[in-house]
Amino acid sequence: MGAMKLSNTHTQRYLLRIADAALILSQRNSEWCGHGPILEEDLAQANMALDLLGQARALLTHAGAADGLDEDQLAMLRLEHQFLNPVLFELPHAVDGRRPGDFAFTVVRNFLTAAWFNLLWTKLLDSCDTELAAIAEKSLKEARYHLQHSADWCVRLGDGTADSQVRMQAALERAWPYLGELFEGDEVDAAAEAEKLGPSWASLQAEWRALVEPVLAQATLKLPKDRPNAHRGRHGAHSEHLGHLLSDLQYLQRAYPGGTW
């Protein structure tokens, strides 16, 4: 036994990057369940986590088919470097690990990534891969709600009290240096674009800014300075946080191998 063998084609990597982004963000957001600042947000965060989990499952199933691997094998038995989500998705809600967490960061990340998912799913409607296009269609509806919900909260908390404004600005500053990875083109992207599998991620940036900036302005938040991208989660090189997340996520399958659940 050891590392799971993946064919690692451009197509598979393109799919896994998106699948893992959804899976890991779902795992993070579900941490709020039972711990939210108001009961309605416990439910909303859990609801969005469920949507993301559903998206991840569909994509993992699709990505694993070529190698005869199912969603659980991919989620539970891959090693850390085989996860291809951008680092932004794996960051803990609070930098000091405290529970429940920093809700400002949750809102900011949900907003920034929901905008990104919206654009991505929209482009993927035209994928030459009809199954991917079908996943995109279902996911886009969900992502629209995520965007609306998180944008509302961005404005509410950004343009709330002086204290909440400071927290939101700090959360935005924390998230911003990780955004580069969401808009960096590479050979996987280029292949996807060439084959009409899906858009190059780099191509999403301008529209993303157009989507995000008015909301941040309404939230009275200042755009942080763009930073050069230092993160390589899409290439399997993660932050120190993913390993701890995976040791929890994968615990049962590893401790009870060969089980039927």
């Binding site: 039972g34 711990h35 416990d42 986590a49 469920l50 989990l53 429940p100 009870y256």
Partner: protein, 311 residues
């Protein structure tokens, strides 16, 4: 007195009491206590199962569990709303929880130690809850009865899901999985029986509640009904229940069971269960850490309102 008699007559006739109807203040108080305690139980009950969301063994089980815990939050929401129709705000009720004045179901002061606990909570704890709650669907207070209809429907679904997950492990699982299920049943069986409350001989409030149509069966009646139903389910599972005195009593037409450790029950109710302090602290922490969020939302709503007025 005339009002009280008319009120009691309506109840006796099976009418629903609605928020705007006159009611005795002790009826109101009893209901607020009971409904809010029930709501608190849903909210605190999110914690033990929530502990396993991050570690569910498959993505399907994760989705089921996440949806279930979310449903519990939803039950909390309707129950708080039902209690609010009696004139107590959600914030007041939460304050009572956070300051230790209000109770929640003692069962949630036990920890979830393995994945099988999640299934066993569905099977036994939700099962016992349903036994307790089904009669409340005919409770005399309309909003509570209607909330309970919805709650019971969802709880039955959860109970079946929990049972099904145990069945899969017991029928197709490894030896380690089966042992995990048995261990969980051993830990949860007796606390589940305690969920029906103290024996009828020691039970407070019961008579008045019966008269008011808030309670329809005695604790011991419901407990027996639960035991009778569960023994058969345990057989199908292939699990043993941790009670050597459990045996069929032909004469009574019921299963006899061994003595319940009421010392433990009162100890846990009194605050010295394995998780009482942590559960309450966790809720208080979530509330306190969320204060800035609630304040900001309020401030923002005020700004919006002012802007609208000005326009």
């Amino acid at each position: 007195q005339a009002k009280e008699a008319a009120f009691q007559a309506r109840i006796d006739a099976g009418d629903y009491i609605e928020p705007k109807d006159w009611m005795p203040s002790s009826y109101r108080k009893t209901l607020v206590r009971q409904i809010s305690q029930h709501a608190h139980s849903e909210i605190v009950g999110m914690l033990p199962e929530g502990n396993w969301i991050s570690r569910a063994p498959t993505l399907k089980r994760k989705a089921i569990l996440l949806a279930k815990v979310q449903d519990e939050g939803g039950h909390g929401l309707y129950l708080y709303a039902a209690a609010e129709t009696l004139g107590t705000s959600r914030d007041q009720m939460l304050d009572a929880l956070h300051t230790g004045k209000a109770k929640y179901s003692s069962i949630f002061n036990y920890p979830t130690v393995t994945w099988a606990d999640v299934g066993v909570i569905g099977w036994l704890v939700d099962g016992a809850a349903i036994m307790n709650q089904v009669p409340l669907c005919r409770c005399s207070y309309g909003p509570y009865a209607r909330a309970m209809i919805r709650v019971c429907r969802e709880e039955s679904f959860h109970q079946r899901q929990g049972y099904e997950s145990l069945l899969v492990m017991m029928q197709n699982g490894t030896e380690a999985q089966k042992a995990m299920v048995q261990d969980a049943v051993n830990r949860w069986w007796w606390p589940s029986l305690m969920m029906f409350g103290p024996p009828d001989s020691d039970s407070l409030h019961s008579e008045q509640s019966m008269r008011w149509g808030i309670k329809r069966n005695s604790n011991d009646e419901l407990r027996q009904k639960f035991v009778d139903a569960t023994v058969d389910q345990a057989k199908v599972l292939g699990i043993s229940l941790p009670d050597p005195e459990l045996k069929w009593n032909e004469e009574r037409g019921h299963w006899d069971f061994g003595p319940i450790n009421w010392d433990e029950f009162w100890r846990v109710v009194g605050g010295d269960g394995p998780c009482n302090r942590e559960r309450l602290a966790t809720r208080v922490r979530a509330w306190d850490e969320g204060e800035w969020v609630r304040e900001a939302a309020l401030a923002h709503a005020r700004k919006q309102h002012t802007a609208k007025e000005a326009a």
